[in-house]
């Protein structure tokens, strides 16, 4: 079933931690004048009990659904959010905000440091997933929402959903972590490190202080190319590209002969236009630091009041199903009533964004059984 998009949407901005107040970070450092870019879809009911927080992944932003009035782009989860969709905006009030450390309207390394009037660059403190959630909590508080009906997200968004449930079990009724993990494995950290090194190896990175000169485009593009390889599966790459050539013959030069090469170059070059290299460094580091394994999940809570829907995708090798099963294991320890589904897929890690038929059926039915008070 195809449903219409919710139509034109605008990004809003929420400012908090105005001096003398500040946001204390997990590192012990603090930030003030924090701006959070966010969008909302649907209407908040009078009891403020129908709010769903959508958390975005590494390179996502607040524009999750609808068509941006700014650049006519569709939201990154437009097929999932809207009237009659998995997150039905006729029933729910859906909020999505750009993460702390990001570069799409929320305060991050490319934002102006109020002390200097110049971009923070590497003066920006390292942030964690917990810090991102703190920024979101401030936004949620500003709406007067006591308890979220649901927190949902894939990949790094799933980490935020887990962090919300762990830090604020009494403020979340249900959590849907998708294609995610309680902690990064050495393999995931390794990929992130190669991604960071490719940015930092670009002379144009200038130790992070490049804002007057322009982005380290080459390094960031390569970083994104690596990312894209990990988001796909062997099978989806075979189906999409096989060994097809861009032109009819091999060039016998170091040009992009194969379609897959052209695709990666295109994706890399496009990414440079919309994403800040330093944000990529900060956010990948935050993912690597994330660790809610063992006793760190819901500390002190014997019986989880939060209901969980944990979803993994069979073809996802970046966040393999076993990592979602690890989440389920921890939830069993917390006596959480949990639904776990390992969905059949071919698209690898990207499946949560693309293969939405089963995902929609599952999420819609799960949410339908959580009564809105």
């Amino acid at each position: 079933m195809k449903f219409a998009s919710i139509g034109p949407v605008t990004t809003h901005f929420f400012v908090f931690a105005q001096p003398p107040a500040s946001l204390t970070l997990e590192s012990g450092r603090s930030l003030s004048h924090v701006t959070v870019a966010f969008e909302t879809y649907g209407n908040l009911n009078t009891q403020k009990s129908n709010a769903i927080l959508v958390c975005h992944a590494l390179s996502g932003d607040a524009h999750a659904a609808g068509i941006s009035t700014e650049d006519n782009s569709h939201g990154w989860w437009d097929e999932m959010i809207g009237p009659g969709k998995a997150l039905d905006t006729d029933k729910y009030f859906v909020i999505c905000s750009n993460v702390l450390g990001g570069c799409r309207g929320t305060t991050g390394p490319s934002s102006d440091n109020p002390l200097t009037g110049k971009p923070y660059a590497l003066d920006f403190p390292l942030i964690t997933i917990a810090d991102m959630v703190e920024a979101q909590r401030n936004l949620i508080d500003s709406f007067g929402i006591e308890k979220l009906l649901c927190v949902i997200g894939g990949s790094m968004g799933g980490m935020q959903a887990l962090q919300w449930a762990s830090a604020y079990p009494e403020r979340v009724r249900a959590a849907i972590p998708i294609a995610t993990a309680l902690k990064h494995s050495p393999q995931q950290i390794a990929f992130d490190e190669v991604i960071r090194q490719s940015i930092m190896a670009d002379p144009a990175w200038r130790q992070g202080y490049y804002y007057e000169h322009g982005q380290p485009e080459k390094g960031l593009a390569v970083a994104r190319m690596i990312g894209h390889i990990t988001f796909m599966s062997d099978l989806s790459m075979e189906e999409k590209f096989s060994r097809k050539l861009k032109n009819e013959k091999l060039s016998f030069q170091f040009t992009d002969d194969f379609e897959v090469e052209g695709y990666l170059r295109y994706r890399g070059n496009n990414f440079v236009k919309r994403f800040d290299a330093n944000s990529y460094l900060y956010i990948t580091k935050a993912m690597d630091y994330f660790d809610l394994s063992g006793d760190k999940f819901m500390p002190g809570v014997k019986k989880s009041p939060v209901k969980f829907l944990v979803i993994s995708f069979k073809s996802d090798w970046l966040y393999p199903s076993y990592q979602s099963q690890d989440i389920v294991r921890v939830l069993k320890q917390k006596h959480a009533y949990t639904t776990y589904f390992d969905l059949t897929s071919t698209y690898g890690h990207d499946a949560f964004l693309i293969e939405i038929a089963d995902e929609t059926r599952l999420i819609r039915n799960f949410l339908a059984n959580i009564r809105i008070d």
Binding site: V328, T338, T339, L362, N365, F366
Partner: protein, 199 residues
């Protein structure tokens, strides 16, 4: 309403206490769990492997984990549930001994239901036709059956004695009524409520 519900489900619904915490291993599309919620306001968790059955469970509002029965139990702390249900799956699981052990650890009580391979008709089929028995409780041909083991009421009682497992209640079922006369011969299905000695 109750007439359309399988006899074993009706008995299980009678056995369990109000508001009990239930784990159903191999819960299928969740009919039993739905009944237990309706009749006993039970708190339920299912474990199921099949995709379509999983979706049906979620449609019904059930919490259900996708996975096999063997690995589904191990991570639960001791006595996480009032009842662990192993209904009509004993004959399909590979490590039955291990699963019963784990079920007794995770649950205060375990409800086990299985088809009785020693039903009179099964015996006669084997004896006189020389063929694998097919009946209401064992409806499959040899080449399509999911059943990897065949056990009888007597086998199970003996097993419990050997393992020092207490049989608290037992029910012997024909197609739509209980069997009181020579259940070893006349029961198609059986249900046992067992618990660990000392619990």
């Amino acid at each position: 309403m109750m007439e359309n519900i399988n006899l074993d489900y009706r008995i299980i619904a009678r056995i369990i206490t109000q508001h009990a915490h239930i784990l159903d291993l191999g819960c299928g599309s969740g009919e039993l769990l739905t009944l237990l919620i309706r009749e006993k306001q039970a708190l339920v968790q299912g474990i199921e492997l099949n995709d379509e059955e999983m979706h049906r469970c979620v449609e019904k509002g059930l919490t259900v984990l996708q996975g096999d029965i063997e690995s589904g139990l191990v991570d639960y702390p001791d006595k996480s549930f009032d009842y662990v249900i192993l209904n009509q799956i004993m004959q399909e699981i590979k490590k039955a001994d291990f699963v019963i052990d784990e079920a007794l650890r995770v649950g205060r009580k375990v409800i086990v239901g299985f088809p009785n391979f020693a039903h009179i008709k099964a015996r006669l089929t084997l004896m006189f036709a020389g063929k694998t028995p097919i009946n209401d409780a064992l409806p499959y041909y040899w080449y399509e059956t999911p059943n990897i083991r065949f056990l009888t009421i007597r086998d199970f009682v003996e097993y419990c004695a050997k393992k020092n497992i207490i049989i608290e209640q037992k029910y012997f079922l024909a197609k739509s009524k209980l069997v009181r006369f020579l259940p070893h011969l006349f029961a198609l299905n059986s249900l046992f409520v067992i618990k660990r000695n000392g619990d």
